[in-house]
Symmetry: D2
Subunit: 139 residues, 4 copies
């Protein structure tokens, strides 16, 4: 699966001269949206099915700074899925010579109905369940 | 009416060392929310009444830069209201010695139902209509 | 010149369900950066030459809303340049069928040294001057 | 020490109707800035001393959503400091009746010179060192 590439915008930098650390959480979302789309489960489809997937936790390790105009390649993977809690991993690499890892991160998600009750993913979305479990096993 | 004060956050600066210009549009929203609340018409009340007031135009003149930790006093006024189109004005002053005007701006709004049809403000919200027209006349 | 395309991110939407109006100012910056790069005058080159080009004014007219995942094509042009003040125009079109204009805007810029004195563009950057004047005449 | 209070802005919400999860990282920064100021070590003083304190890691657990106009009280503490790595904790409580914990988080920081070399905090900033170690022991 081709990785997502984010090019750092001027408005994402701060007066330390680097990309503000909060923006990487947004890049993780961008890459996750792209990942779900490539898997055939775009957010739009989830929303039509009445499934919300809020973020329940994030953690990020900042390894090296980036700045305006840097291109960041984001590799996304499924770390684990137990039918309730999904953990997604991110590795961000700055596209320079040689490429440099700038961040590793994880996000944790659950699946809710619009009434904020848990979706029974295995029963109600069996294909989606099998896909995620399969990806987690590969990782 | 006491003005709204915004203190510039670190994440609002950019690598030129100053507050990124896009953030002033957000400060205008903050000050407008405060203004409506002080007028007795907070957003929450508008939303309960089923009235949306999207922004239909903004214009900003940037007079001087600000940066992290600066305190910006924002004076809000009603420039005009014809029952359909509301024009709000903003003057932002950096609280230093002597105070310095850093921005002037305007935003234009209309009033819509959730189905995105125009609300007849004069007929359906007569008190709100009178308030805005009165403020426009004073200005 | 191919237009810049911005795809609306989830984090750019607000609870009215649409792209928050402040984000279009950021899209204008993204498109301007791309435009300058395509002209052969990327920001990085300007910064190396010690030239800052702060935004001195913006104005935006919001014509129709957009939301998550919409693709917005942004056409950028030079409206005027008198050697001191540059006015850039933006037309944003949602890529749907048929395409729909969602925003028109302008930004105004000057050119400063790091000490915040005006750059004499015609004298010090004659090629850049000729390029911008030429683009303004075409428009 | 009085806690920092953040009031959720409209532009911080997303189309799920709640505060976008990336914004809590920014609230953590706001609260940290306030905390350092209350301790007598505001960012401005650190910057004058030539000390940068980049974020090297963050982790957040999202416990309950918030939305526009909610007031969030943020309690900040020092979890640990070994002279190189500082870990700060955050507990965010929505001010409603009864108050509700909405987020717990941590951020990790180091201290660098402008040339991005480690500051020897114990030797070069002994009062600051003692203060942080003392706060960590209390916690």
């Amino acid at each position: 699966m081709p990785p997502y590439v984010h090019r750092v915008h001027y408005y994402e930098t701060d007066r330390m001269g680097v990309t503000h650390h909060s923006n990487y959480v947004r890049m993780m979302e961008e890459a996750r949206v792209d990942f779900m789309e490539q898997l055939g489960w775009p957010y739009a489809r989830m929303e039509e099915l009445g499934v919300l997937s809020p973020v329940t936790a994030v953690n990020l390790k900042y390894i090296a700074p980036t700045t305006f105009d840097d291109r960041i390649e984001i590799h996304v993977g499924v770390k684990s899925f137990d039918g309730v809690k999904l953990v997604i991993t991110y590795t961000m690499t700055k596209l320079c010579d040689p490429p440099q890892i700038v961040l590793t991160g994880e996000s944790e998600h659950c699946f809710l109905t619009p009434e904020r009750r848990f979706v029974r993913v295995k029963r109600d979305l069996p294909e989606f369940y099998a896909l995620l479990v399969g990806l987690a096993e590969e990782s």
